[in-house]
């Protein structure tokens, strides 16, 4: 899978770059609505169910959630460094920054999985082992949202990690030539997954932390 600097359908590299960037943003707009529907549902239930719903959010692990937010924000900075050094014509630096990005992404998934394990032990997983008598029905509704949101986000991140690992290998082997758009587009996807988490974090982890 060798990438040509410019596709046959384009007149200039700049035109190719703009068309592919626009295409990526069109895809990301659909992703905004995909995660946005979940967030709209959360807001409805939060307003309907009030304090009980907010109290259920305090059963999540705020230390792990905050650490994961820091990990993901740092991975985005590494991704920005990868795109910047790649476009400056460097070959070694983007491979290192992409490797750092993928490893931080992997760290996020490991922390998330350990949190799910704690949730399992506390009988917080709806349809698997949710303890209705202990936590109540409103908490179950919150945890349905929690697992849908964090699960779909983790799936997006796993796809991102695979693509970043592939990209690092391709750049290292010289298959991706400077001037191509692939690195920028992978960067846009990665940052978007970060933006989704930026909104999920306060809704899931910061609700019900006082009073």
């Amino acid at each position: 899978m060798s990438e040509r600097a410019i596709g046959f359908q384009y007149a200039t590299v700049a035109q190719q770059r703009e068309a592919s960037t626009l295409g990526m943003w069109a895809f990301l707009a659909t992703e905004v609505l995909f995660f946005g529907a979940l967030i709209a549902a959360y807001l409805n239930y939060r307003i309907w169910l009030g304090d009980e719903f907010i109290a259920a959010a305090s059963l999540t692990k705020v230390a792990l959630g905050t650490a994961n937010t820091a990990v993901l924000l740092t991975s985005s900075a590494c991704m920005a460094m990868a795109v910047m050094t790649f476009e400056a014509g460097s070959k070694r630096a983007p491979v290192l920054w992409l490797t750092a990005t993928a490893l931080l992404g992997l760290a996020f998934v490991v922390i998330k999985a350990s949190e799910w394990w704690l949730d399992y032990q506390e009988h917080l997983i709806p349809a698997l082992n949710f303890d209705l008598a202990r936590h109540g029905g409103v908490a179950e509704i919150f945890f349905v949202f929690y697992f849908c949101a964090t699960g779909l986000h983790a799936l997006h991140l796993l796809i991102g990690i695979s693509i970043v690992a592939w990209l690092a290998t391709a750049i290292g082997r010289g298959r991706i030539v400077p001037g191509g758009s692939t690195t920028r587009l992978v960067g846009l996807y990665w940052h978007f997954v970060d933006v989704v988490w930026i909104f999920l974090f306060p809704l899931i982890y910061l609700a019900g932390r006082n009073g």
Binding site: W25, G36, W48, L49, T69, A77, M84, G187, I198, P202
Partner: protein, 97 residues
């Protein structure tokens, strides 16, 4: 974009993360979610404008980026205009308590 800009953005993101987590433990009533969502918007804008380079993009790219969020706003506001003001739809919800 320079390395200095990227790491300044990262530093700002870390400060905002510390601020939002700290604010969640201060009892402010309904202001808590307003503050945490306002900080989330600030963090997202840093990522969108700098890391995703919307700051230097052409108007068409910015319009595509804004379209998704604009439609999301319509979805949330129109859904909320109905559900958040219903008083007679609470019965089935009460049964889950």
């Amino acid at each position: 974009m320079s390395a200095a800009t990227i790491w300044k953005c990262w530093f700002a993101l870390m400060l905002l993360l510390a601020a939002t987590t700290a604010s969640a433990f201060v009892p402010l009533g309904s202001a808590n979610i307003v503050i945490s969502l306002a900080i989330a918007v600030a963090k997202a804008l840093i990522v969108l404008l700098f890391f995703m380079e919307l700051r230097g993009s052409r108007a068409l790219v910015r319009a595509f980026a804004a379209a998704g969020f604009f439609w999301l706003l319509i979805m949330i506001v129109l859904t909320g205009a109905d559900y958040w003001h219903r008083t007679d739809a609470l019965a089935p919800i009460d049964q889950v308590r």
